[in-house]
């Protein structure tokens, strides 16, 4: 189902607040740990994506610099960053994307359904959707971004 152009879309600030809440709960208890803005993500990144279907059709993506993804996995698993492998990174980025996505979904028109999260190394291109919001953040000096996508823009 295609969404109406009148659909309320959470703001970039909303994306940031939700991401901050997830970070504070599981990754970094320091409220100043995650900061808005910062340098742009390079080509090399880890991307988590969760798709939405139903009243709102689109996706939510979390993109992290590889070092940020590794640090996030280490924090979530309680491991040293050097001990974290690709399996832990994929699991952690998937779960963080799931948490951010689920909370963004609660601000969108429903009912709608979340897919299972997908995690890829590199950029992800989804056919037929356009980005409508993006929040860029920095954690431990490494960039990350959360974005909301909608079918048909």
């Amino acid at each position: 189902m295609e969404t109406s152009t009148m659909t309320y879309v959470p703001s970039a600030d909303d994306l940031e607040v939700i991401t901050r809440e997830v970070w504070m709960s599981f990754l970094d208890g320091d409220p100043a740990g995650l900061v808005a803005g910062g340098s742009a993500l390079g080509e090399d990144r880890v991307t988590g994506c969760i798709q939405l279907s139903g009243m709102y059709v689109g996706a939510i993506m979390l993109e992290l610099a590889p070092a940020a993804a590794q640090a996030a996995a280490a924090a979530l698993f309680g491991m040293a960053p050097g001990d974290v492998g690709p399996v832990e990174v994929a699991d952690a980025v998937g779960e963080i994307t799931n948490m951010v996505g689920g909370n963004v979904k609660s601000m969108l028109p429903g009912p709608s359904t979340l897919s299972l999260p997908a995690v890829v190394y590199g950029q992800l291109t989804l056919p037929g959707v356009q980005m409508v919001r993006r929040a860029e953040l920095t954690w431990r000096g490494q960039p990350l971004a959360v974005s909301l996508w909608r079918q048909g823009g």
Binding site: E21, V22, M24, S25, F26, A73, L76, F77, G78, E88, D91, A92, G94, E95, N98, M99, G101, G102, N103, K105, S106, G110, P111, S112, L114, L116
Partner: protein, 125 residues
């Protein structure tokens, strides 16, 4: 004193680790399952937890299907079911509670939020 048993059902091993740590800290023994189907298999093998913490969005068998399956079996009727999930849409929460879940916690959560819900349910070890 014997510990109570909690089953943590979540497809994310990081989340199972986090929830397992919280539950052990509250005095529970913990068993884990990565989806509803494996959780059912553990129940069928004779494991009988006092409480199951159930994610919604999982492969193979999701949390709602797990709740429905547990509620169909007389011998599992006394297992307390608590959804711990990112699914925060009101209509979905109502569906889970109507299916037989006792409580609902939305991720992200704090350890205190889990403890508070367990106290509310009367299942703190």
């Amino acid at each position: 004193m014997l510990s109570l048993l909690a089953m943590v059902i979540d497809d994310s091993s990081a989340m199972r680790l986090i929830l397992g740590r919280i539950m052990r800290g509250l005095g529970f023994d913990v068993v884990e399952a990565p989806n509803g189907a494996e959780a059912i298999a553990r129940l069928e093998s004779g494991i009988k937890p006092e409480i199951a913490l159930v994610d919604w969005n999982m492969p193979v068998m999701d949390g709602l299907a797990f709740v429905n399956a547990v509620r169909k079996k007389e011998q599992w009727r006394d297992i307390t079911l608590m959804m711990v999930t990112t699914e925060s849409e009101q209509s979905q929460i109502v569906r889970a509670l109507a299916a037989g879940a006792h409580e609902y916690v939305i991720k992200p959560f704090t350890p205190d939020a889990i403890a508070d819900k367990l106290a509310l349910l009367g299942v703190l070890a």
